[in-house]
Symmetry: D5
Subunit: 119 residues, 10 copies
């Protein structure tokens, strides 16, 4: 079950602005309609305010979706909310890319704050 309490944070190592991007190519959850597993890639991109998410805790958080029945759109918005609430970044972008189902593959993009135009 998705669990944002798994997330841990550390203080940003710089007072100058910088951007962090983590790409998890091994995400899996379950389609609540068919019960079949979904496979996707999750990209989290953000500008830290005070804290950064610790990498191993992020991995454990992603793994907590493994047997959860949840739609693409809900996964994406859930990750944005969990991370934005706990980290309060200057801005954040969550992109999920899902392997094809019935010949159709999907991408969902959710954002928090003012994402720079180039992304």
């Amino acid at each position: 079950m998705p669990d944002s309490q798994l997330l841990e944070f550390f203080d940003s190592p710089s007072e100058t602005t910088f951007i962090i991007e983590h790409v998890n190519e091994e995400f899996t959850s379950v389609c609540p309609k068919t019960g079949h597993p979904d496979f996707g890639t999750i990209t989290v991109r953000y500008e830290p305010a005070a804290v950064c998410v610790e990498l191993k805790s992020l991995k454990m958080y992603f793994q907590s979706f493994r047997n959860e029945g949840i739609f693409y759109e809900a996964v994406t918005n859930r990750i944005r909310e969990d991370l934005a609430t706990t980290m309060s970044p200057v801005w954040m972008q969550v992109i999920t890319d899902w392997k094809g189902r019935g010949g159709i593959r999907s991408r969902i993009i959710a954002e928090h704050g003012e994402v720079p135009a180039r992304f």
Copy 2:
């Protein structure tokens, strides 16, 4: 025969802005001039207002073009109209990429509303 009544919708899971993209690499219709099949990839990208299109119904809708005689430009505009009319998205972009005919391959881009500059 293309049939927009096949389309089903569900309520958007978030009040925060987000973007959805579906890519169907298995689209086929028929050239009305030669009777030969056309093969293409259809990309639908949109920002939902109140509702999102349900994935399986979208697939059935795309399949309803299978034996329809219809030009590239008409397919593209038809999909834009059917989806924009039934979903009323904030904005929508429909891109169709067609396999080569006589050494020429084509792409058609149709838009509804104010598509962000980065797309």
Copy 3:
């Protein structure tokens, strides 16, 4: 409906051995179980004996599967039989590559006569 009478042939232009390969990346038929369309690539490779298959007739023959409900394995064996019976090649290899269904993509290889080891 698959129709081998669409196939036309012309005399081989050389008495010296040579090999011909045609790759059709735009093949579609229908799954007899689900009614959903299947999409694949068909490769036909052969050493002609007396005749070669005419390219446009081969295309029409492939198009005759468009609305036929037929499994991957049956398509592959059907094409091998139709072409081997009508052309009597020295040898022939039919390879079909099918787009993923439920996360699984498939390839079927059927052969007629003594296919050289390097293929």
Copy 4:
């Protein structure tokens, strides 16, 4: 000899703005200096005003350059002028990409009207 009279047009199927792109990867003309053939890819991208160019007539028009001695820059500007004059599009972009000569490959970009910044 390049012949713009080969071009045919049809009425735009939509009053809403849309964009059409045709890519011909099989263009050839002749270098007027060396007499050797040149090979290139021609991309035509435009927003139709009242009419669209018919695909087969565009192919015949491109083929009319086959034995013409003409420089890269002149081919590109000639195509822009012929198409812009006969179609009066809202805007048009013609890009030609030429295979290497003496280790140098070239691209020419010619535009008509106000091409959107993203292209």
Copy 5:
């Protein structure tokens, strides 16, 4: 829990020799040592004797490993044994490709019967 009783079969559609290959790019199981998920691609290649494995049942069989703690080598040999025992193919090859762990990615190849040299 891996369950070979999920597998279903159908009669081979041809008495002539042919080869079938299924590639599942969405396989996941669990590392029995660390408890972390493993992700891999499973390729099953075989020459049917009397029966072929039904595609959807194969998918369900692969999904039954989802929460099983099992090593790469054991997964590979287990799949070979389950399929070889239930189908008795002329020959079979099972190849598993695993995403990197600690910078090392792995492939396991298990075979049953006399696999032709070209594979």
Copy 6:
């Protein structure tokens, strides 16, 4: 018009066996049936006996097919014959790869003498 008298040769620079491969990615001829141009890549691979073909003369020879109406199979066999007759190589392989026509792309392989198994 294809003209083998354009071909020039030079003495092999070594008495030890070696292999030469020339790949022309800019070949064009004309389809005798439709009058439309065909585009292909020609690979000539051989072990010289006494002489090698001079590169510029080979280019001029290939250009002599530019406006010739000739089928794929005939081009391939013609090149094999012209080169084998004039050079008498130990062995030779001519491979032609043709861009798609009606969704089907083709490859023809013609050989002279005993081509080593690895090719």
Copy 7:
């Protein structure tokens, strides 16, 4: 131990604005938490003011991180600070791309001054 005194500089060869980018695909440091080595690619992009960094000294500087226990974010900010302090460029961008750990790969982007929008 990272040592910015290894860096050497030479006078910019032009008074006109220009941009320099160095990409080091062979960077390695050590994870301070696990003691395992990290591998990454470092991109440094800048517009020189008065001086440019000498390439071999940059290589030696990068090598000085080899056995240092340091996090991704700290490496990136450290390189930005060392180079910005010693070179005072008009602007600078440091991008680090790290190979996957536990299925997650990361990129960090740190900037100094006003980086042009296109980068």
Copy 8:
């Protein structure tokens, strides 16, 4: 020795704005420090004012750097100056991409005039 007198020009074939790009993937000069050869790709992109550079003369000009001992930054600025001085283009961009040295590969970008933002 780099020699800008090798450059020849021809009148621009159009009064309408257009853009020309030449990419030379076969550039070589010599490192003045080590005496070892450097290998790079030179891209010249410009909007002609009154004249365009002739392709073969550009090739001869590039070849004149073959045995010159000269740094990356100096090559790039030298080419910009030679071409900008002799052609007076509306704008020009010179990009040099250099193969790796000691695991680091480099790119230098020099510009003349107001280069459009999209490049």
Copy 9:
């Protein structure tokens, strides 16, 4: 310092023949001549007799070369000997691929026992 005592083993999970391949893309050692780091990919492919090498111990063994001054050829033969001696596989192949030095990249292949022809 390379230390084969880091290697651990487990009993082969099958009495039927199978093949294991591990690819480490993050190998680094030091050139004994220049003192500069070398970066390479190590592929170990083998058919186990009684035991298989444990993956994490293999990783630790590879890491023990990190600060060792040792040539490409010696690394390759050392790994073959250490693994062959401790595991006594039916056969083993060790392939090392090294990033370019001075424009030259290298591969070393060392074998133990009778490696099947297809590898």
Copy 10:
């Protein structure tokens, strides 16, 4: 001027058979007919008998062709002879791949001794 005296050797570090491959992607010589530079990639693959070629000396040897007027076939045979004579390997293979001239790219393969079939 090509100079085999630049080559240096070291004793083979193993009495067990192994294979070495060096790939130089930065080779250049001059066409004796046109005076224009040729660019190619040289692959040397061999099984050492008593000695191996030292990498830096091999680089200097390749550089000695820089301003030599010499044909593709002669370069290839010259390298084979120089290396085979000075090293007496069990077998050796020299493959040269040349960038396109007039739309034709070439590969020459020269061998010494009994090269294993898989290469």
